[in-house]
Subunit: 125 residues, 2 copies
DNA sequence: CGGTATCCTGAAGGATACTG
DNA sequence: CAGTATCCTTCAGGATACCG
């Protein structure tokens, strides 16, 4: 017999233990967002990407890329040459994720004046 | 005279010192995302919201709400009654932000099986 | 070049107690 | 109820050194 009624979907980022919350945190993480946005433009090599995403450390870039690769958002292709060369690009899944976060980022850029105005009003008194 | 050519927009989240990067971090922050998503449904009181966003502490909820309010995403309305009652809701600006992050979250929920499969392949060997 | 390993610090964030 | 204040712990993340 049915004792409880499902109101929210079974997969709910708002649920403390739902794995989707972790995935969301990966794509919205500080560096994850910026990496996805950069890779929207084109594939990048590690060092290129490090320069493109200003401020990221080697460690955090490597870590972020591994997480995104494991989740299936980023494709990693290592070329066995000297010096080593590794190319990163978006998978189809990652391209969609990047599209969504890119849209968000673009909207934030557009809305910056509104935010600045809101802050002035808030701090004003 | 013009010595350099602007290739990227003047407001660029990818730029280390661009204020828009901070705003993006506010809306994509761990609890900011979940608060925006919850407030999409309806206005919430503080305690309601705390229960709705499972796992958030009082401190972090208060801090997150203050940040979102200052940026103009959340409207705070305190009723001078006893016991105190404070309602939180989205501003028009916040509604748009919430729509975008909500879209992202929804896509993540839908894509969870793909991510799980990708992880299995990655960890597989 | 593209990492990994180690160490270390500051900031994020949780628990608890207290207040208007 | 809706916070704020305080304390304390965890961990993201930076610096540095080293390796294939």
């Amino acid at each position: 017999m049915k004792v409880s009624t499902e109101i929210r979907p079974l997969v709910d980022v708002t649920d403390r233990n739902c794995p989707s919350r972790l995935v969301l945190e990966h794509v919205t993480s500080r560096w994850g967002v910026l990496v996805l946005i950069a890779l929207r433009e084109r594939g990048y090599r590690f060092s290129e990407l490090r320069r493109r995403v200003a401020g990221v450390s080697e460690k955090m870039l490597a870590q972020t890329l591994q997480t995104l690769e494991r989740d299936g958002f980023v494709h990693r292709e290592a070329h066995p040459v000297i010096p080593p060369r590794v190319d990163y690009s978006l998978t189809p899944l990652g391209a969609r994720a990047a599209e969504l976060v890119g849209g968000l980022a673009h909207w934030v850029e557009q809305s910056l004046p509104d935010v600045v105005a809101a802050r002035a009003a808030y701090d004003g008194r």
